[in-house]
């Protein structure tokens, strides 16, 4: 398993510290802080009945390292715990908040469960809910880039549970056979809702699945943002050089519930969670930054406070917005409205007071 950062923020023995400008490192950290804060706020809003649903990213912020290895023309297919990648790619924070409220400024037009969003202008693909579907799509997108000789790579995220899905199988296979520039990134957080890894697969390691497809595979500490960056950087290089896809198994842990609908105490031990809390990717990275002299405890506190306030403000604004208009129920089914949807729109307007 590739690892660069020790738990105390020092560099592991016999490994090389990647050379990354300080302001970038700080920016990664800032995004970690933002999404962790979003989780705290999001679940509260859900419990208050102010938003419909919340999905947690807590514990999986290491994924930002993968995103950091990509260029802005590269593409990302998230599963649904990769808000950090979206922010890193330039998604305005307020967009996520409007989306949480599914209001009239939600670029998804209030159509999705909060947390399931994509943005075309940052090449961050709108995710589905059926597990795994994006994996083979990512291979197709990468093929398209290869065909057009654009040199862009595609990173796709998915969970350990998703490795059982049909589209994992076809995605890995098509990616390998057509040698697409794809990073298949499995965020192995040990659980698929209540199903633990050993009931998901009898393989010794998920990374072994790469062998059966003839894909280069690597296992990495998913809570170590530097290692994540490093393996992704190597995979991106391979992809751009025409060497085909890489399968990355990132070992991590979902510290929170599966979603706001889940109660993990039904199926897993608190001690297991506590254990993984010690490996919290944010804490570890913070220690590194402090050790490196890029961040002080005071600055850190300031940062958390800043985003706490900012996000509260954004929530305040977003919560006051109206719902999307009734017309949005019918547009985007097709490029243009067919006769039957025109009829149905007229009908629904009679009953709606929007």
């Amino acid at each position: 398993m590739r690892k660069i950062l020790n738990l105390d923020g020092s560099i592991a023995k016999n490994t090389e510290e990647p050379i990354i400008p300080n302001d970038e490192l700080l920016h990664w950290y800032e995004i970690m802080v933002q999404i962790r804060t979003l989780d705290t706020k999001g679940i509260r809003l859900q419990r208050q009945g102010r938003v419909g649903f919340h999905i947690f990213t807590t514990g999986q912020e290491g994924h930002i390292g993968i995103a950091a290895a990509l260029g802005s023309d590269d593409w990302v297919y998230p599963a649904y715990r990769e808000h950090g990648a979206a922010l890193l790619r330039g998604l305005p924070l307020e967009d996520i908040i409007h989306h949480l409220f599914a209001n009239d400024l939600d670029t998804q037009k209030g159509r999705r469960l909060p947390g399931l969003f994509g943005e075309k202008n940052i090449n961050f693909v709108n995710p589905s809910a059926p597990i795994g579907t994006q994996i083979v799509q990512a291979a197709g997108t990468a093929y398209a880039s290869k065909y057009k000789k654009d040199g862009n790579v595609v990173a796709v995220f998915f969970g350990d549970g998703a490795t059982s899905s049909n589209d994992f199988h076809s995605g890995m296979n098509f990616g390998a056979v057509f040698k697409t520039p794809t990073l298949f990134v499995c965020m192995n957080n040990q659980w698929a809702i209540s199903v633990p890894l050993h009931q998901q697969t009898a393989a010794e390691k998920i990374v072994d699945k790469a062998i059966g497809y003839g894909i280069h595979g690597i296992q990495v500490d998913g809570n170590d943002i530097l290692a994540m960056y490093q393996v992704a950087k190597e995979a991106v290089e391979r992809a751009r050089n025409g060497e085909g896809p890489t399968f990355i198994e990132a070992l991590t842990y979902r510290l929170g519930p599966h979603t706001s609908s889940d109660d993990p105490s039904r199926y897993r031990e608190d001690s297991d969670v506590e254990n993984w809390k010690n490996k919290d990717p944010i804490v570890r990275f913070k220690k590194y930054l402090i050790k490196k002299g890029i961040l002080t405890e005071d600055q850190d506190k300031e940062m958390w406070d800043h985003y706490d306030n900012l996000i509260n403000e954004l929530i305040d604004q977003a919560s006051k917005r109206p719902l999307p208009s009734i017309e949005t129920m019918f547009d985007d089914v097709y490029e243009t409205l067919p006769w039957h949807l025109k009829e149905q729109l007229e009908e629904v307007k009679k009953y709606s007071n929007r």
Binding site: G52, S164, N166, I193, V195, T328, M329, Y351
Partner: protein, 324 residues
């Protein structure tokens, strides 16, 4: 008698059938320790153990294919699909295998699997936790499609389904899983498949529905009765093959028919109901045959209550056909 809601009635049916017959096995995602995301299998893992309550890997075609294989060997497999929106990866196993095994083997191999799955909107589930694909299964010879609308039927129909020698798609109206309780016999009883119920007798307009929409329909019938329109409400319970006699009698009596379903209107199950009436009893019709249905768009999120049939929308259709 016990007071049960629908989801508990289902759990009871499963538990009693598993008690009765040790060859009944349930399987699915998160149905074990977690008891199912809707708790329909709560306690069954503790009672029957991991050999009869299988938490499976995340693969729906795997779940159904594995169940088909078990059932060929004489096991009564009752898989759960967590949301019916996630049944599509299993479509090939259902349409090509489950539905056709008896036929293609000349009656030699049968796989009477019962697929349980929560369906339908109204729970803020958006595109992928709200759909109602019954018409796809009703177009598939070899399958039976059952949709209960109340706790009594839920238990009795599920027991019938489990004892049936044909494969059954058992669609559970999750919107009303916990909406109300009813007296349900503690003992084992069955509600026959392929038989509809007259939930409300009336003489002016026939309303046909099932599942969660039955209640919207009943509410509409109440509103209509305040205006002096006397609706008969049919709860299909089994939508395929359906109970044609009950429909015939009602339709001939009222001469006015409205179906109420929540899936997109085009090629939805309401179309089949309209077509049956229009080809068999059109001369009795005194008004257009109306479908109140979901709109022809992917299931929305914040606008879901605008999307789904409401008592008001049904009422308007009742008025329309009554005054036609």
């Amino acid at each position: 008698m016990v007071e049960l809601n629908i989801v508990d009635a289902i759990k009871y049916a499963l538990e009693q059938e598993m008690d009765r017959d040790k060859d009944v096995i349930i399987l699915g995602e998160d149905i074990g320790k977690n008891g199912g995301v809707f708790r329909a299998t709560q306690g069954l893992y503790d009672k029957f153990g991991p050999e009869r309550v299988l938490d499976t890997p995340l693969n729906e075609s795997g779940i159904i294919g594995f169940a088909v294989g078990m059932s060929l060997y004489g096991i009564k497999a009752v898989p759960e699909i967590q949301f019916i929106d996630f049944i599509f990866p299993a479509f090939d196993q259902i349409l090509s295998e489950l539905a056709k095994f008896r036929y293609r083997s000349g009656g030699q191999f049968t796989c009477p699997v019962v697929i349980r799955s929560p369906y339908g909107g109204g729970v803020r589930g958006a595109h992928y936790h709200s759909q109602s694909p019954e018409s796809l299964f009703a177009h598939t010879p070899g399958l039976k499609v059952v949709v209960p609308s109340n706790p009594y039927d839920a238990k009795g129909l599920l027991i019938s389904a489990i004892r049936s020698n044909d494969p059954v798609i058992f669609m559970e109206p999750k919107r009303i899983y916990r909406a109300f309780k009813e007296e349900v016999p503690e003992d084992d009883y069955t509600v026959p498949l392929e038989s509809a119920a007259i939930t409300r007798e009336g003489k002016d307009v026939t309303l046909i529905s099932y599942g969660a929409m039955l209640h919207i329909t009943m509410d509409a019938a109440d509103l209509a009765s305040e205006e002096g329109i006397d609706c008969e409400v049919i709860d299909l319970r089994t939508i395929y093959p359906l109970d044609i006699d009950t429909i015939e009698e009602s339709v001939k009596k009222t001469g006015r028919v409205i179906s109420v379903t929540e899936a997109p209107k085009t090629a939805g199950f309401g179309a089949e109901l309209s077509a049956l009436v229009a080809e068999r009893w059109i001369e009795y019709m005194e008004a257009p045959i109306i479908r109140v249905a979901g709109y022809d768009v992917p299931f929305p999120f914040v606008l879901e209550h605008d999307y789904m049939p409401t008592p008001e929308r049904v009422l308007d259709s009742i008025r329309y056909v009554y005054n036609y």
